[in-house]
């Protein structure tokens, strides 16, 4: 296509890309410095002093959710596979209304810093905290591995720096945010990144539409002209109805068990603010998933699948390549820096969630039996942050070169099978018991991991066997159902009078906010 001249500067650290990236790091470190002076208590470290407004929290939630996987991944999927990418995009939004209808407000009223606060509210603290922390940490770990490996690869593709350096860079910068600025810094980094991402993708969308006389129809016609009508029709992504519904369940209800998302509801003053923040978040995320397919189709039409595929087989570079084609090196630099910022911010949020499970749930409530003074709690929270951050970098290196795309699916599947059933049952069901909660969480976690290992994703794609013992690629429909059943059956086998008595007191707090933190 471009006889002799390189088709793209992607993969070389251009002045524009490095400049925008350094600017972002400088701004976010300034935010961290500002936040550090306001981060003394646990309330500030874990929950930003509950001072975040609904609009700010809506942006931060959107920031946590719009990861590099959804920005680069879905644009790439639409560019390479056409309409199938759009099907995937819808699945990423539909969890948000469910989160609001089922858990957001009770979660805010009942908890303090983690979702385990809610599950353990009227049950026996130690066993429930341990089980919830296991479910929470597994979810966060798998999500983090996927993000770290993805970030190493993406940064290598975009800036040309070696994988190990990229992973270490991400780990170190995000550790600065979380360690010194806690939730205040993490939230503002997330807001900054969300605004940059929304602006960047909006500009990209406008440029695509401008190239097609502001008519999506002309864009689709160009895509169909080059790749056939099939690009605009459902293809091979969804074939088995059960598998498709199972994936849908994991995407939708997994959101209701993601610790780093749930934690954000504690940063707003009350349940009303929590509710409004979901409306903002759903608006931003919905807008994002409506316009991202335009970017994907635009990349297919203007950059071409061949070049996108040559740079990265998965198509992840579709959006950056499109940015370069339409806006030159400067705009590519901006989009590359935004993608980098996205990864940093998401990993920071995950680290804070992982650290809170380790320190607030395990250390304070299990090891110390709930008796620890503020200074000790903040100190332990910071140590847990370091532990989790180092672990994230090491896991990123360990899984170098591995296909980890399925790990995001695994994280969502564990979230919806281990964390979500116990969370929902503890809110709505008087007879739910400690034994039921522990059994439900552990069954959900173990069953999900086991079924993924036995699924075609691992058995056929990674181990290259012919047939997998378990036919579904996503186990949620089985593992979540079993987890609910186990939680209900085990609870019905014995009674826990204290838990039932507390359920009444809990009602005033759940629905009226009386005594909420």
């Amino acid at each position: 296509m471009n006889d002799g001249t390189p088709a793209t500067t992607l993969g070389h650290p251009t002045a524009a890309a490095v400049g925008f990236f350094l600017l972002f790091v400088a701004i976010t470190l300034a935010i961290t410095w500002w936040a550090a002076r306001r981060t003394r208590s646990t309330r500030e470290f874990y929950a930003a002093g509950r001072s975040i407004s609904p609009l700010q929290n809506g942006l931060a939630l959107a920031g946590d959710y719009m990861s590099a996987a959804s920005f680069l991944g879905i644009a790439g999927l639409v560019a390479m596979k056409g309409y199938d990418g759009m099907i995937y995009a819808t699945g990423w939004l539909v969890g948000w209304p469910a989160l609001l209808f089922l858990v957001a407000e009770p979660l805010r009223n009942l908890g303090k810093y983690t979702f385990a606060d809610v599950v353990a509210f009227r049950l026996r603290q130690k066993p429930v905290r341990v089980a919830s922390a296991i479910g929470g940490i597994l979810t966060v770990l798998f999500y983090t591995i996927a993000q770290m490996v993805g970030s190493g690869n993406l940064i290598k593709l975009m800036f040309g720096i070696p994988y190990e350096w990229a992973v270490t860079l991400v780990g170190s910068v995000m550790l600065l945010y979380v360690l010194f600025g806690g939730m205040i810094a993490t939230t503002w980094v997330q807001i900054t990144k969300a605004v940059l991402l929304l602006v960047g993708v909006s500009v990209l969308t406008l440029m695509v539409l401008a190239s097609f006389d502001w008519s999506p129809g002309s864009l689709y016609a160009a895509v169909a002209g080059q790749y056939g009508q099939a690009a605009l029709e459902p293809g091979g992504l969804v074939t088995s109805p059960i598998d498709a519904v199972s994936l849908g369940l994991a995407l939708m209800l997994g959101l209701l068990g993601l610790p780093h998302i749930l934690m954000r509801f504690y940063t707003v003053p009350d349940a009303r603010a929590a509710r409004k923040s979901v409306l903002y978040a759903t608006g931003f995320i919905g807008y994002f998933y409506v316009i991202i397919p335009i970017v994907g189709f635009g990349a297919a039409a203007l950059v071409g699948r061949q070049l996108i595929g040559e740079i990265d087989k998965g198509g992840n570079m579709a959006a950056p390549l499109l940015a370069e084609r339409l806006g030159g090196e400067l705009f590519l630099g901006f989009i590359a820096a935004v993608a980098f910022a996205t990864i940093l911010a998401v990993v920071a949020g995950l680290t804070l969630a992982g650290a809170s499970a380790l320190s607030h749930d395990i250390y304070v409530h299990v090891v110390k039996g709930g008796e620890a003074d503020e200074r000790e709690q903040v100190r332990v929270a910071r140590w847990a942050t370091v532990v989790f951050g180092v672990l994230a970098v090491l896991l990123g290196m360990l899984f170098k070169g591995q296909n980890v795309a399925f790990m995001v699916g695994l994280a969502f599947a564990i979230a919806c099978s281990a964390n979500f059933p116990a969370l929902l049952l503890s809110i709505v069901w008087r007879r739910f018991t400690t034994a039921g909660a522990v059994a439900s969480i552990l069954t959900g976690a173990v069953l999900t991991v086991a079924l993924i290992v036995l699924s075609p994703t691992v058995w056929v794609d990674l181990l290259h066997r012919d047939v997998a013992p378990f036919p579904l690629r996503n186990p949620a429909i089985v593992s979540m159902t079993v987890s609910f059943l186990v939680g209900i059956v085990v609870s019905l086998m014995s009674r826990e009078p204290t838990a039932e008595a507390f359920f009444d007191d809990e009602k005033l707090r759940t629905y009226l906010g009386v005594g909420a933190e």
Binding site: L100, P216, R275
Partner: protein, 99 residues
């Protein structure tokens, strides 16, 4: 003025909680209908979604965007109900409650 115990027994609180769940579960059901309906349509009747509604534009494109818009609209319906009805009711009940 009511004690916490009296409040828990009060029909007003029970009605409010029941109403809250009736509305959120109805909206959840509509959400499931929209999303899983779409997924099953993709799985079972691809030809219908491949029908052209423009020169090349397929029915699937507006339907996918529609699912996102419906999801947001359901969220907006809940928030507007809660702001108009639920919050004032909560305020009234909290005023009746002994400190």
């Amino acid at each position: 003025m009511k004690t916490a115990h009296e409040m828990l027994q009060s029909p007003a609180l029970r009605r409010l909680v029941a109403r809250r769940w009736a509305i959120s579960l109805t909206l959840t059901a509509l959400l499931f209908l929209a999303y899983y309906g779409f997924i099953l349509l993709v799985a079972l009747d691809k030809d219908r979604l491949a029908t052209k509604v423009g020169t090349v534009t397929t029915l699937g494109i507006p339907v996918a965007v529609g699912v996102i818009v419906i999801a947001w609209a359901l969220t907006a319906i809940y928030v507007s109900w809660a702001n108009r009805v639920y919050d004032p009711a909560v305020d009234r009940l909290r005023e009746e409650l002994e400190k």
